[in-house]
Amino acid sequence: MDNALPAASAPAAVDLAFTVNGSPAKVAVDPRESLLDVLRERLDLTGTKKGCDHGQCGACTVHVDGRRVVSCLTAAVQVDGRAVTTIEGVEGPDGELHPLQQAFIDHDALQCGYCTPGQVMSGLACMAEGHTRDDAEIREYMSGNLCRCGAYAGIVAAIRETARRTGH
C-alpha cells in the first residue's frame, strides 16, 4: 500500500482539456490517475470497463485520436488536447446501435457482457485498420481483448460480417 512508502504530499493537479465523444471536457487530475479512472469516476462514463487494470485484458479499450489504446495504462495527463472516443460515442444520431454492436447481438458475441465495450471498440479499430482480411487476421488483431465467457467465435463472426457489409 501507499503508506509503506516514504510520506509524500499529493502532487500538484494538472489541468486537462480534451474531447470525449466530440464534447469538450475539462478536468483537473492527479498525474497518477489513469484515463480509465478519469472516464469512469470523474466523467461518469462507466461504459468503459476495468478488468485487469494492467493492460492485459482489453476491457478498457478506447480510441485516442482514432487509435485504440488501453485506457488503464494511459496516464490521463497524456490525453491533454486529444480526442477520446468511448463506447458511449459509437451510437447513431438517434441512439441506434452501431452496426457492429447489432452484429454482436446477432452472432451471440457475448454472454456476461463485461468485456463487450472493449471488444466493440477494438473491433471498430480492427476494421478501420484493415485487419479483417480473414478470420486468422481478425483473431490476431483482436488478441488483446480477452473474453472469459469464451464468445470468441461469435466475436470473430460479428467483425467479419460487419467489415464485409461496411466495405472494410
Partner: protein, 333 residues
Amino acid sequence: MRPFAYTAARTLGQAVEALADGGPGTKVLAGGTTLYDLMKLRIENPPAVIDISRVSELTRIDTSGAELVIGAGARMADVAEHPVVRRDYPALSESLWRAASQQLRNMATVGGNLLQRTRCSYFRGGSAFPCNKREPGSGCSAIDGIDRHHALFGGSQSCIATYPGDWAVALLAFDAKLDVVGPKTRRTIALADLHVEPGSTPQREHTLAADEIIVRIRVPKTAAGRGSTYLKIRDRESYAFALTSAAVGLTIGRRGVIEQSRIALGGVATRPWRVPAAEQSLIGEQLTEATARRAGEVAFAGAKAGHHNGFRIELGIRTVTEALMIARTRATR
C-alpha cells in the same frame, strides 16, 4: 502509486534538461506500457516523471538512406506496418507485430520497448518475494522456484530473469545502433552494447546513464534483411511473451550457398542473445533441414536448464530450425 512530479516536454531539448534537473530516480515516460504499469504495482516509484510522448522530433521514420532511421518515439504499430520495413526487414516488422496487442503497440514506443523490464513473476510480485533485481541483496526466488520462463543463457547466482523483448532481438541480429543524448553527451552505441547480463548487479540492466535518452535507432540495410524472419513460440498463439524465439537472416548465392547468416535468440536469455557460432556453422553450406537443425543445436550448446525450463532447449533448437527454413524461402525468392 507513489506521488510524483509531472513534467510534459515539448522538445527533445526540454526533455533532456528536465531529466537532468529532475534529481535521482527521475524517469522518462513515453508510451507508459511498462513504466506506468510497474508504478501501479509499486515496483517503480519515481519521484518525478518527464513525459516525452509529445516530442514530435522523436517520431520520424526515414528509410531513404543506406540505413533505416527510426525515431525512438515512433510507435510499435507504425514501425511494424511501415511498408519499407515490411519489405526490406520482415524480421523487424514481425518482431513488433508478434509482440503485445494492437492497443499496446499503438501506445508503446520503439525506444521504450528496448528498455522494458523483465516479466519475471517474482520481480513483478512485489515484496512478498525476494528479488535481487528489485531489492539488491534480498535473494532470488526464481532459482529454486518456478523457473519455467527463466533464462537458459546469461544467468548468474543473483538473477535468471529473462529479457522479455522481441524487437531488440531482431535489431541485434542486424547490427543496429542507437543515437543517445544527455545533457553533456551525444553518442552512438551498438545495440549489442545496450543490455548487460545480471552478474552480481541485476538491478543494472543497461548501459545508458540516468540522464540519457534514446533518440533514434539506426539499422544498416543488408540483403540479409529481406531474407529474414522473426519466429516466436508462445504458450498461446498470440499476445504472449516468447517461450523461445529466433530472429534470423540469410543471403544465399547462386548455387544455393549461404553467404551471410544472422541468428539471435529471444525469450531464453537475460539479454538479447546473438549466436555467432551458429551463424558461422552455416557459411558455405546449403540450407537444408539438417544444416538448419545443426545451427539450432550449436545455438543452444551452452544452454543451462534449471528445474522447469529444460523443455525450452529442444523447443529453441526447433525454433531456430524452422526460422531458417522460412528465411530460406525469402532469401532465394
